[in-house]
Amino acid sequence: MANKLIVSLSPHVHNGDSVQRNMYGVMIALIPALLVSFYMFGLGAVIVSLTSVASCLFFEWAITKFILKRERTTIADGSAALTGLLLAFNLPSNLPLWIIVIGALVSIGIGKMTFGGLGCNPFNPALVGRVFLLISFPVQMTSWPVTGQLLSYTDAETGATPLALMKQAIHGDTEALGKLPDTLDLFLGNNPGCLGEVSALALLIGLFYMLWKKIISWHIPVSILVTVFVFSGLMHWVDPDTYASPLVHLCTGGLMLGAIFMATDYVTSPMSHKGMILYGVCIGFLTVVIRLFGAYPEGMSFAILIMNAFTPLINAYCKPKRFGEVKK
């Protein structure tokens, strides 16, 4: 026989899935929310998202090449671009360029590459970047432009977010809840906020796309949303003047973005379905606790990062149900 045969172990076929396909799949799922942010915040949203993606790609390339000195850079796998996009989604649209670049450096440099790159990071890199910025630049990170200023960037007029109003109500301002935008507006995205988080509808479209393409499973997003709904609903039922309705909770702040795109990050979430549900329930619970009783108006990022730290523990104790195993 002239040509030699390849000998390898089974399986000899593959379903064609790849890391890239999943990363770009998530990005496609983010497109509706991105378009809404362009529509609501105009130029600012475009500048922030482009800067964030470009600087994340740059830092990933530079770190693999000059610090880790690997032969091949990994920017083509899409994970750095995705981190950049998700970081941008968690920033206000009037954030100055230099702050965005710092956020990207922290996300990729500290959040991801310090641990060895893709697959090794214990915390969601985009959230590491966001929380770093939130703590370091509290003023810039918490002044959100009002929607509809299509041509302004850092000069945009800012306004109070629904979450800030909800926090005022908890602190005793009895009229604050009355100033909340209509729930339909909140659902569609017509309210101040970080650029990717405003439209619950667009994010839900992304969720359905990812479920359809089997990029993620339903366990994490559904358990977070249900927990938040039940817990905040209970509080609202006890004291409707102080605590906003559960629907408002679901449609405001980073809840949808966090539940659908940040908490479902492959690397930092549990591996078994049981573990995913436990993880989701804890995130939902912590988010509402921080929102209602904590110092910050928003708790999603902190809740996810806290639960990221518990992921190895959840993995160690929540094993999938083994075939044929009988409970002792």
């Binding site: 026989m1 040509n3 045969l5 390849i6 000998v7 390898s8 172990l9 089974s10 399986p11 000899h12 076929v13 593959h14 379903n15 899935d17 790849s18 890391v19 396909r21 999943n22 796998d77 994970s79 790159g117 893709l118 697959g119 090794c120 499973s217 492959y266 690397v267 930092t268 979430s269 549990p270 591996m271 078994s272 379905h273 995913m276 094993k319 999938p320 149900k321 083994r322 075939f323 044929g324 195993e325 009988v326």
Partner: protein
Amino acid sequence: MKTFRIGGVHPAENKLSAGKAIGILPVPERAVFPLSQHIGAPAIPVVEKGDRVKVGTKIAEAGGFVSACVYSSVSGVVNKIDNIIDASGYSKPAIFIDVEGDEWEESIDRSSSLIKTCDFSSEEIVKKIKDAGIVGMGGACFPTHVKLSPPPGCAAECILINAVECEPYLTADHRLMLEKGDEVLVGVTLLMKAVKVKKAYIGIESNKPDAIRLLQEKAASYEGIEVVPLKVKYPQGGEKQLIDAIIGRRVPPPPAIPINVGAVVQNVGTAFAVYEAVQKNKPLFERVVTVTGKSVLKPSNFLVRMGTPMKQLVDAAGGLPEDAAKIIAGGPMMGKALANLDVPVCKGSSGLLVMTKAEARRSEPQPCIRCAKCVTVCPMGLEPFLLATCSAHGYWERVEHEMIMSCIECGSCQFTCPSHRPILDYIRLGKGKVSGIIRARNTKK
């Protein structure tokens, strides 16, 4: 429609040869019979160099209870007993026979008439099956008489016939059902009689509607046989998955076996071989083999004498394609890649798949992104990513604790892995090590 409940994948079916009737392959010039065509002790040769044999002459005796005898599929002269590389890639002893003419043992009934009645007792049937050298024809090659002899304390409740053929490309069982439906059903009744049960289920995936319809019609005239259509999902042909799919019982983790839940699983090809052995006095020396592949000129199903070199099968299907890069004995999910085409057809050879260079390329592995897809598809509820990583690092105690021995090596994890990691390669390494450790522990006791 029924199916198993944990995990599973949907590889492209590619049943190219489903419409091709079973052709008869000519007798080879030289046939080679490995002594280990089954799980268990190798057979012991009962012929010597220079002996003359006929078609159906016993040439090797079973080497123990878990073993099977080997029969010649050709008539001729024993040339030598020497080593040959078989489908597993290991060099193993085999009997080489130079073919002269085609003379059959007179005891074999070569007529095509269907014999339905059988007066043998259970013990006699099992003995016939044992004497005929029958092993599981699905590929695992476990001696059939062992499965039909339940250990003390266990009783069979039903027979499950595996006619799922969940491996992509393969159509040998499908054609066998279409062309030898009655023989298969009689074989099933013999198996029922052998283990003294009143009920048999034949599990067929819904991608073979013609076989389901035909067997359902025919089964109406056999008592206790029910054809169960199953939803297409790999690895439904796995013994434990099939039991779960059809009767909804789950076999506990090893060392438990199907009989512990009252089930005996046999392949449809085995049922046919049982028919021939018991009713026609014909030992196992022929089987249906699918020869297929996207670049193969004429994908076909052949009735092949065992011992025939694989090369002859490829030639009969239009020759080896120019772009052939990998040749697999069996299906693409669990088959074994061959190093050359001199490997003979054995009792477990269900197919021969030729893959092109593009199909055979394995992508470069990327880091594990912990997407949990391997966990979701694992039909045994294991964590393949963990088993692979721990095996790679040599944490044998840990992998044993994580139930690595439950792995059925179906390959669903590696098939699904977006990072193209060689998960199953590492799990096999771990399984090998752990089974060695378990054996050492048991002998110490």
